[in-house]
Every structure is written in C-alpha cells, then in structure tokens.
C-alpha cells in the first residue's frame, strides 16, 4: 500500500513537471530518427540491428528516468521524512514501479516511430515483444532505482549513475537485444526469457535486501 502511494506520488509529480519524461522521449525519438538518416541500410541489415538499436535507446532513456528517481526526494529533505515514515523496501518498490511505468511509456511512444522510420513491422509478434519489453524494462528500472538511491547524495550523480548502471545491465541487454531482433525478424524466439526472469528476480531480491543499508547509514 505504501509502495503504491509512493509510486502514485512520483507519477503525479512527473506528470506535472515532465522533468524526465520529456527528456527521455525526446532523446529516444531523436536517436531513432538520426540513426535512420545516418546509415543507408537495406532491409536485412535494418532487421539485423533492430533489437540492438532499440535496447540501446531504451537503456539510455532509462538512465535519464531513474536518475530523477531518488533525486526527486532531495529538495526539502523529503527522503528523511519518507525514511522515517515507511520501510526502505516500500520506498524502493514504489519508485521502481513509477520508473517502470515511465520507461514503458517511452518505449510505447518510440516503438511506432521506430517501425515507421525503419520500415519494420513490429505488430506481428506484439504479445511476445510486450513480454520481453516488460521483463527487460523491469530489470533496467530495478537496477537503476537501486543505483539512484546509492548515488542520490553524490555530487556528480548524473555521471556516476550511468557509469555504474551500464555494466550491470550487460547480461540483460544481451538477452533483450537477441530476443527482440528474433521477434522482429518473425522468429518467435523466447530462448533467453529465462535469463531475463533470473536477472529480474535476482536484482529485485538483492535490491530489496540492500536498500535499508543504502538508505539508513
């Protein structure tokens, strides 16, 4: 219940300020459009890079979103009040859910643009693609939110978070890229789905365990 209240608060304030949503959507669209003009690729080449391109864009857009997650609590010492009111895992879960919704929104906005500019049909295996996107997006947000809590009081947090985040995302991104490329090529390959599930469960459990130590020092 507390986690949902925190997620609702984060989504409400984000909707009012659009601090991270505007930058993440703009970034995703600009990169996708620029890439489509930068390289003169034939259809097969476009299909071959599709998964990699999409998940690199989503990973960078995700970093922009999770960067604001705990930073939002810095003004007026709101994190102190939250930490004295509820357990750390509620704060963590609430913030992860809010980041998950926001990043999924970015993906849903940019996916049709990607289909249009790269002339790739993505609706054919929509449900399998949605499953891959949901699992991978949770993985990005859960690791990103934990790192956002670690770097919240660091002076150069905007630089520190990506430096810590990207190496940790490598296994997740490899699985997501391979499966997305396969699905966009018309092959219903979900061979790496176990990798995504294990990654999500493992990092969610680790983060839930460590968050009290991160927030209360």
């Amino acid at each position: 219940m507390a986690a949902l209240a925190i997620a609702g608060k984060d989504l409400r304030t984000e909707w009012r300020t659009r601090e991270s949503l505007n930058s993440a959507v703009s970034f995703a669209l600009v990169i996708l459009v620029l890439f489509s003009f930068a390289f003169d690729l034939d259809r097969e080449e476009r299909l071959a890079i599709s998964g990699g391109l999409l998940w690199l864009v989503y990973a960078f857009a995700g970093a922009l979103i999770v960067n604001r997650s705990f930073a939002r609590e810095v003004p007026n010492d709101c994190l102190e009040v939250l930490t004295s009111s509820v357990r750390g895992w509620s704060i963590f879960l609430g913030k992860s859910v809010a980041c998950f919704v926001l990043l999924l929104l970015v993906e849903l906005i940019s996916l049709p643009i990607f289909g249009l500019f790269y002339n790739i049909r993505w609706t054919g295996s929509f449900f399998a693609l949605a499953l891959v996107m949901a699992l991978s997006t949770w993985g990005i947000t859960v690791v990103g939110t934990a790192l956002s809590a670690i770097t919240v009081n660091v002076r150069l947090r905007e630089l520190m978070l990506p430096v810590l985040l990207y190496p940790l995302m490598i296994p997740l991104l490899i699985g997501a890229m391979e499966m997305t490329t396969g699905l966009l090529n018309g092959n219903a390959v979900l061979s790496d789905i176990r990798l995504l599930i294990v990654y999500d469960v493992m990092f969610t459990a680790i983060s839930l365990y460590l968050i009290e130590f991160i927030l209360v020092i």
């Binding site: 925190i6 608060k9 304030t13 300020t17 003004p75 010492d77 102190e80 009040v81 009111s85 209360v216």
Partner: protein, 229 residues
C-alpha cells in the same frame, strides 16, 4: 516500558565520534527538551531515534509510531497542500487520509489554500504545512529537531498549540532546542548533551526555567556537578 530507550549509543563520522555512549530513557507521555551546544550531537541522536541513521555501537528501543520534524520541511513542492498530507496519511496507514488531511489543514490555518501547490506558498505557510505533516497521524512519539528555529509568530503559536494537545493525548515528545525558555514552558524533563554524552537527564526544575545557564553551570563541562545520565 519507556517510549524511548537509548543505551550506550556511539556514532562515528569517519574517525570523529559525534556520540560517545549517549544513554537516554524517556517515559511515555513525557516531554523532553534535549539541550546542548552546537555540535553536541543533538541532531545525530534524534536522527538515530527516528531511524534515519544507524548507531555505530549501542542499542535503541522505540515504542510506537514516530512523527519527525527535522531541519528540512519535508513536503513536496509539486504537490498541493492536501495532496502532501494525503500522501503521508496513506504512508501512515490512516483509514481516511483525505479527511485527516483536511482536518490537519484546518488546524494550521491552510484550508483556504488546500489545493495550492506547496511551491507557491510563503515560507511561513510551508512551515505550517510541515508541522501539519508531522502531527497528521497523531504519533505516539514526536521527534522534533529545533522545531522553533526560524518559525514565524503564527507557526510558533500553531506548533505550541499542537504540542500542548499532543501532550494531553499522551504522546511522548523529544525536542532538541537552543531556545531554552520556549522549551521549558512545554518540557516535563530535560536532557543535557555535551560532546556526545548525556551529562544530565531528569525532571525540569524551577532553577532551569528561571535561569537558562543553570544547567550548563551545574552539569556542563567544567562544572562540579555529578554526571546523572
């Protein structure tokens, strides 16, 4: 059973011990003024009691729900006054957060601007909103870190009224303060913190109320008074 029991609490920041074996027992329903000079460790002790910081050594036992008012106001600029209080009402598990939020806003005189964003409020209004937030869920234990510092007259009056009501309800209050006279009006007990140690802890006496320097002269560093922690 004490509302607060801290025993042999040490807190290091690097090599520097901000608290050196501080011990404090607070009976239920009492109001303790935690007095000490700058750097004595008042904020560190209150943060540990509020669960915002872990002691390096020692034990802490807290009985009941906490309301905390720290140096920051702890309200969200991009939420309205009523949304801020509803959020903290939900976090505290109140059965009807909206009703509680509206009642609290009326108490601190912010009903007229309940739908205004906190960022549009004056400093005094934000302070009253922060006070309403700390008292919203009728906490069993109120931890207040220099609550009267930089408040305007209206906010001081609101805070004093809420503290008086909280005492009548039986809430326990621990407040750090430099304003000894204001604190003594409300306090039933006094604790003097010097260089990370509680050097005196006991009921407030007339001498303490009449003479703000009495505690420091009698129990502070360089005094001949025995340590009564």
């Amino acid at each position: 059973m004490h509302a607060v029991a801290a025993d042999g609490v040490w807190k290091y920041f690097g090599d520097y011990p901000a608290l050196r074996g501080a011990g404090l027992e607070v009976s239920r329903g009492s109001c303790v003024a935690l007095i000490g000079r700058n750097g004595a460790g008042k904020t560190t002790l209150l943060r540990i009691l509020a669960g915002l910081s872990k002691p390096s050594k020692g034990t802490i036992a807290i009985d009941g729900r906490i309301g905390y008012l720290g140096h920051g106001i702890g309200v969200y600029d991009d939420l309205s006054a009523v949304e801020n209080l509803m959020l903290f009402g939900r976090l505290a598990g109140l059965p009807n957060p909206k009703e509680s939020a509206l009642a609290a806003l009326e108490h601190v005189g912010l009903t007229r601007v309940k739908d205004g964003l906190a960022r549009e409020f004056s400093r005094g209004m934000r302070q009253r909103l922060a006070i309403a937030r700390a008292f919203l869920h009728n906490p069993d234990l109120l931890l207040l870190d220099e609550p009267f510092t930089s408040l305007d007259d209206r906010a001081i009056a609101v805070l004093q009224q809420l503290l008086t009501e909280a005492r009548k309800r039986g809430s326990t209050i621990v407040m750090s303060t430099h304003q000894i006279r204001e604190a003594m009006e409300l306090a039933s007990d006094v604790a003097l913190l010097e260089r990370g140690r509680i050097v005196f802890s006991g009921p407030r006496s007339n001498e303490m109320t009449l003479d703000p320097g009495f505690l420091y002269r009698t129990y502070g560093e360089g005094s001949s008074g025995e340590v009564r922690a």
